[in-house]
Amino acid sequence: MSAPDSSFLAPPAGSQVRAVHDEFHGDLLEVSMGPHHPSTHGVFRMIVTLDGETIVKLKPVFGYLHRNHEKLGENTSYLASMPYTDRLDYLNSMTNNWAYALAVERLAGLAVPARAEYLRVILAELTRLLNHSCLAGFLLQDCGCSGTPLMYAFREREKILDLFESLSGSRMMCNFQRFGGCRVDPSADWLAGVQQLTDGYGAFLDEFEALLTGNEIFMARTQGVGRLAAPLAISAGVTGPVLRASGVAHDLRKVDGYGAYPQFDFRVPLGDHGDTYDRYMVRILEMRESIQILRQALARLPDGPIMDPKAKLRGFRPKAGEAYGRIEGPKGEIGFYLISDGSPNPYRYRVRPPSFINLTILEDLCLGHTVADAVIILGSVDIVLGEVDR
């Protein structure tokens, strides 16, 4: 550990730390949290410099799970990259697949039948429910409830994963979307299972909110902690619930209107303070909106093919050119940028990871707070290391 030079003393622009450090005389304590730490959601390391209890400097370090997913993408065919996209954000394999399929369809100009579009919306909203309940569970686990909310969240998550397993064959590594549609046509009782889950999910959310949202200790621990200003969020490229918690009305489902989303009416919740409590509440309200979308999608699911008959499975060679496709994943805007040179392998295969870019503002959020708050702020930003390190 090199001796802390004085240059880092000046807090970065836009942070609300009072310039009290010029007359400090206690020495600073450099603590390394991670990569093996109970609450960093994976192999993620933060080098935190403490002045007593408050954080003076926070340097995130990652790359421990770096597999160079993009070089793999360049050396394999378009279809063979699809199972690897499950391993990006390993909690939401369905939305990763959809983003990749959308980008390739935009590159090759493929059309997707209506039933497949509806099925993709249903699976994306199920993934959003799964991801947000996981997040709420982990956030509360960091706050100190010894696993109770996490277990309730995982109880509901298991039901969704069982649905994915009975449809795609695997709970988390679904490898389900193809260029031009979906791989398997869901059976009637699978759709009945989704309907039953949607009806029961509202009750779970009410119970979860009764346990936590009004809890004075939870409110005291999270309100006003890790405040993110809207202009900084926009400039830092933060997307997803973290951006909406700062009051910016930016939801790709409304902005881009991709897939079948324009045919559903749902609302986009916004926060006003941009602190950890808002990030938690925006996700809870988003789950309630997802239930509305699921209900409408199940009611109006059209019949018909789920795969574009013209789409070729093997030997897929899109014409030369490039395309950037993005969708509103549970963690934010996940996008794929593909450059094709006519060969079966993409020339350049780039993933736009929301967790990785949302971490840009981690230091700005944590300055001036204590170690206990830094853990909660990291939990509220919701990162998954598979996507951060790729």
Partner: protein, 204 residues
Amino acid sequence: MLGTGLLQGLAVTAKNLVGSFHDPARLPTLEYPEVQPQLPEAYRNFPFLVSESAEDPMGTLRCVACQICEKECPPQCIYIEKSKDKKPDAAGKQQIFPAVFVIDTSVCMSCQICVEVCPFESIKMDQVFAIATTERFGSLLLTREQLAKPNSYYHQIHPTEAAEVDRRLAADRQAAEDKAKAAAAAKSAAPTPPAKPATGGPAA
């Protein structure tokens, strides 16, 4: 700090505590070794080669060593070597068969791309998950003999899918026979030009 939120939270946990004794939804735990999990039909883990009959698995393998799955497999964990001679397949046609068909299950990630791209319905996904071995290369490398499983086993683990596959194969075989009969009839009806009808391409 009036504590009403805390009391509400305590009420929820109390409801769960009481619920776990009488409400099955509040105790979803599956005590694994004693209670085996009911796997959904679509569950997939590690491929296997389909053979027509159980008695002579090597003789009645559907696989014709076209090596499409070897090329398409993302982690490249399948290794095939074609046989020199041929053997009759289910429809009686002489087909090449794989002398060596090896899957390295330490690399395979059960993504079922091989099943999707196989034109001959000869490789399907198994449902075996409790497989533990002592050493890394020897026993995780499944050879042709270990991979081959009869069609009846396929019907056992994926009933609807197997029925669908058998129906399609029967229809293809039927179509091939009709074409062969029609070709034979056309040849006999018009004996002058001994045009050799193009033999039916691989049943796809």
